[in-house]
Symmetry: C2
């Protein structure tokens, strides 16, 4: 069983870039040819269009990038048929040897968290058997509930060499409402540390993520628990990179959301590892819906994104 | 369009209790007769057993309680077939005039959050049409990403008179790792209030939830944004009830997790409104798997839970 971070490192080295293509299908942006082929709109038809579009995107980007990140919300929006489409796309991505990051931002406690985690990774364990569900290489999770609620995700991921990306600093403009709050451990807390001076919540959460990452470090020196840190907050990226040397960053917000290549550069270690930069709209939808050469446009946009992020 | 809190109040008054039955199906606990009927275990067979069990639970509890709360993790664990089973159960619960609270703990930003929210409530809006997906009356969400990430959920819920329950104080033993951190708002913060003394993060989040709730208050005096507050933290329940007079509490952790009736009593306003108390295992699984009278046991357990919580 190869460590998650080592699999990511191998994929990044093989493709010579750390770009992750976000699979965020949006009906209004799909090529007209895919939409028009499905005359009577139904959720099943929309899910089918999403699947065909993303499947063709996978064929285009698989030779170029190391990872893809299906956004579960857009598939859930199509109901059970959408989830079935996502399942087949995850399977196809694996067969293309892409690292698959399921963006579900899941969170719950105890056996409920295990249910999400087993579904994401090794499979649902019931009736003395294991049934594969999403079979992703990594899952995004939300940390608000604390370590014991993260634990089932950790256990499930570690059973099969998968990874987690924990929300630390999200890319939205209002991320700071809670994440920037200056916090300090309560005096009586068992969580208090030597460093009890007030610091922003995202940094405190980041330190916890760093500690979880250090529990299981691969040969590349990075752990199997990563942090989501938005490209839209470059100063925080710089600070967190220094604070968390063993933590892989999943960096959303590049491109359409405003994150720039020089901002993102600080997410990496000097050896070019340590970060995966996601691009969704910038790669998926660089064409007008009536452009018959939309696949060429996606290929060009993928290469342009890779070039823009190549700051070596 | 009747306000969410008024619909909850009417249901609570009609049933003379505020019990919510958590639909958390677990294979190992299901009646043997439901398991044995499905010889070759597959996720589809397990989803079918979950659906039959929960469907029979709905028939038993619908005359007795005002609300049910399907836990999406257990259905997602069965893959797309599980999600389809959850969809049909939500439909059946609505037809029984039960308030349906989808426990998904969803969270994301911008249009991605809208995708989750529209699916949960009024339906996915695509191709100039609206397609129903889960059609729940309320959804649980996670606040870590901040107000602008909650906004799409609020907008989507308010479009159809639905409600939100925001995680404030979760019921797990380690909830305090982040939720108990002491917050000192920065002096320059636009979020700072008159009350700038340090207080725990969950309280700070609770105050934000209270402000969202006050934006849209029903005739019963309660808003359409509620707070999840675990029965396992009675002191926090008392404090939050005083702090948030317009906020409905969804209270997990009663029974199996250790929350007691006297703890839960403080979640209510003097008029008996203001809280919904969830019970999952205590109501779903009061029988041994080989008990042929398991439906009677569920009926008895539901009535016993209602009686235990009746502190008037």
């Amino acid at each position: 069983m190869i460590h998650f971070a080592d699999r990511v490192a191998a994929a990044v080295r093989a493709k010579r870039n750390a770009v992750c293509v976000g699979l965020d299908p949006r009906w209004e942006s799909l090529p007209l040819e895919l939409r028009q082929r499905r005359g009577d709109a139904s959720l099943a038809a929309i899910a089918s269009a999403y699947e065909e579009f993303c499947s063709r995107v996978l064929d285009i980007v698989a030779p170029l990038v190391p990872a893809v990140k299906p956004q579960s919300a857009f598939f859930e929006a199509c109901g059970p048929e959408g989830m079935a489409a996502m399942q087949r796309l995850l399977c196809k991505a694996r067969n293309h040897n892409l690292i698959t990051i399921l963006d579900g931002k899941r969170n719950d406690i105890a056996s409920t968290a295990s249910a999400y985690a087993d579904a994401a990774f090794g499979g649902t364990r019931l009736a003395a058997r294991t049934f594969p569900v999403w079979e992703a290489d990594a899952l995004t999770i939300n940390p608000y509930l604390g370590r014991d609620a993260v634990e089932p995700f950790l256990e499930s991921a570690r059973r099969v060499g998968a990874g987690l990306f924990v929300l630390v600093r999200t890319s939205n403009p209002g991320a700071g409402q809670f994440q920037d709050l200056l916090v300090s451990p309560p005096a009586s807390s068992s969580h208090s540390t030597d460093n009890s001076s007030p610091r922003p919540l995202y940094q405190y959460v980041g330190e916890a993520v760093g500690a979880w990452a250090r529990e299981n470090v691969g040969q590349c020196g990075l752990g199997d628990v990563g942090a989501v840190v938005g490209a839209t907050y470059p100063a925080e990226l710089v600070m967190l990179r220094k604070l968390l040397p063993e933590t892989i960053f999943l960096v959303p917000g590049f491109g359409a959301q405003g994150g720039k290549a020089e901002d993102v550069a600080s997410a990496f270690r000097p050896d070019g590892l340590g970060a995966i930069v996601n691009s969704s709209r910038g790669i998926l939808f660089p064409f007008k819906p009536d452009d018959p050469s939309w696949e060429t446009r996606i290929d060009e946009a993928t290469r342009a994104t890779i070039a823009a992020l190549d700051t070596r």
